[in-house]
Amino acid sequence: MVGRIPRVRSRPPGRLGRAQQERDVGVPRRPGACPTVTARVKSPFVWLLEKEWRELMVSRSWWVLLIVMGPLVGVSFIGAMRQYAEVSGLNGTSAGVGEALAPLVGVWAPTFSACELVAVFLLPFVAIRMVAGDRQSGALKLELQQGMPPFARMVAKALVLLAGWLLAMLPPLSALLLWRIYGGTLYAPELATLIVGHILNAGLTIGLAAAMSSFTEHPSTAAILTLSVTVGTWILDIFGAVQGGLWERAAGFIPAALVSQFEHGLWRLDTTLIAVVLIAAGLALAAIWMSLGTAVKRRVYESAALGFVAAGAIFACTFATPSWDNSESRSNSFPEADERALRRIHAPLRIDVHLAPGDGRRVDLERHALSKLRRVMPKVQVRYLSSTSIGLFEQTSAGYGEIWYDLGGRRTMSRVTTAEGVLESIYSLANVTPPVETDDEVFRGHPLAAQSNGAGILFYGAWPAGFLAGGILVRRRFQ
């Protein structure tokens, strides 16, 4: 006979009055409701944030990312500084060329490109560990019983990862300090735009990695899927450049294109909104597939519904045309006098461009003229017409290379693909006298012929050593 465990002040089961039961057992309070002094001041969401932060702090992959960031920024910054100094006339060479130099394009875009590299190749692993770790350890089964919406859980993870990303951006931000010490000038709006672009890019990576982690059982599979999607966006970019049309338009919203816009100081509302929608969709998808108690069929329906809603939202966002050129050099805009003149033209403008997607002239036309024109005249219609992708065997065709302008029924043709050529054609159709550009409007640049003294020690020594020491100390403290 098996010996029984002695009963401890046992009562017959099921005979407790409800009030007594609630006193003894404790009515299942709203989770997180004041069990301790600490908990009294912390909501469950704050507890979750704290937990995610602790998980990030003890993550090896996270500290490796931080350690790597310093040298990557160092290579970019020191290289950019050297070129900038050479063009600015270091040691008396190339004197005068530096007048056209803009620090945003010459130094900051390359320096912060380290962030793009890290966001693509390292951040996914950190994010995947954060999202998939709970499922692997079994913590997810406990945490889901708290009743917090799964999306809120994902938002907590994303917020912590973004906070961590800001920490990872300290090395490039320290480059700003060095630049000031060297005597360089800073233009806050363009730098803020650049930083926002890299934060949005990191957000996209986090959303993507979260979604992929939720689909798969193992983190390595999630990593492969995440990188596959990233490579897929690059393929879309190449495909868009070759095929043009909708592909080209879609390629304008991939993360690399987003970063490129922000690197030039251009803040577009449509791109920003689409990035936010994609981040939210990624987190929502992760939330759907992390809901363990939901049937797979229902999760598939919910994912499909989410896909439709996200696609609709993205389509709607493409109509949000406002954009802000925050670059000091106004590299994304026509001169202000031209913009004023163009705004006075109200007749509908249509431009038919007979150039193939792979034709360099089309790229020039788009980058230097039409992208600027769309910002001033959002309703301009541009049609690209070509029967081939590269245009090599189309050169002899009648009409190839022509750019037809139609302003309220008046038409003219030009083959010039420069900004000046495009403006001239429009002004001639609109009977507008081209404005005269004043010297004050010309951006003269900020040449700086300085050597990057001390940058090597900071980026190759101090930052990695600091993060290594920080990692050891913080991990020890949190564990």
Binding site: V2, G26, P44, W47, E55, G138, Q146, G147, G293, T294
Partner: protein, 232 residues
């Protein structure tokens, strides 16, 4: 009666893990879910806790169906074989249970003493042995505030002395009105601890009741082992 389970079924492809499982749970009782490995015990707990969707069936309390969100207020499930938050120290895990999962702070020190966790508090969960981890999981469960606690294999990885100590601890919590529903594959452990039993085998309930009730149903005389063998 705290709640009743009515006709829960769950299939994994062609395999029927649970078939029309029905039973009831009394408030404040120590109910043992016993059955051999692969009987469907963990699957049943996961379905009840909402960690896995069931194909059919429902849970009722006071005659009304209890949906997944309401279940969370009624019961808490402690799975077997998990190592939650492996990099975090036990001390923090207990605080997190109280803060995030809405646990009862006043039970913290008692649970630490009952489960002999004092020496483990600074250690990370991932560095603990199987038995130590089980004790931490039990502490998490005991700290939660839901009236019913479902524990999958509470004695797995524990030695005899620890098993007996923990059985005493579980009984002390049940004595204060908490309902404990324990999945146990070692019939001896179950017999020592539980008031009533649900016998599960091949995904079906083979019997429900106290040892005498089950013995009468099986028409055998003897202990729980004899009854179990007769009914399964």
């Amino acid at each position: 009666m705290l709640f009743e389970v009515d006709g829960i079924s769950k299939r994994f492809g062609r395999i029927a893990a649970l078939s029309d499982v029905s039973f009831h749970v009394e408030a404040g009782e120590l109910l043992g879910l016993i059955g051999p490995n692969g009987a469907g015990k963990s699957t049943l707990f996961e379905c009840l806790a909402g960690a896995m969707p069931s194909d059919s069936g429902l849970m009722r309390a006071q005659g009304a169906a209890v949906d997944a969100s309401s279940r969370r207020r009624m019961l808490f499930y402690v799975p077997d074989g998990i190592a939650p938050w492996p990099k975090q120290p036990v001390r923090w895990v207990l605080d997190y249970t109280i803060g995030f999962l809405g646990g009862r702070a006043e039970l913290r020190e008692e649970a630490i003493a009952q489960l002999d966790l004092a020496a483990l508090l600074p250690q990370a969960v991932g560095t603990l042995s199987k038995g130590q981890r089980k004790r931490v999981l039990l502490a998490i469960g005991l700290l939660t505030a839901q009236p019913a606690l479902l524990i999958d294999e509470p004695f797995e990885g524990l030695d005899l002395r620890q098993s007996r100590d923990i059985a005493v601890a579980l009984r002390s919590h049940a004595a204060r009105g908490r309902t404990l529903f324990l999945s146990i594959h070692q019939i001896g452990d179950a017999a020592r601890l539980c008031d009533r039993f649900v016998l599960l085998s091949g995904g079906r309930v083979r019997g429900e009741g106290t040892v005498p009730e089950l013995a009468a149903k099986a028409r055998v005389q003897g202990d729980l082992e004899e009854v179990f063998l007769a009914l399964t």
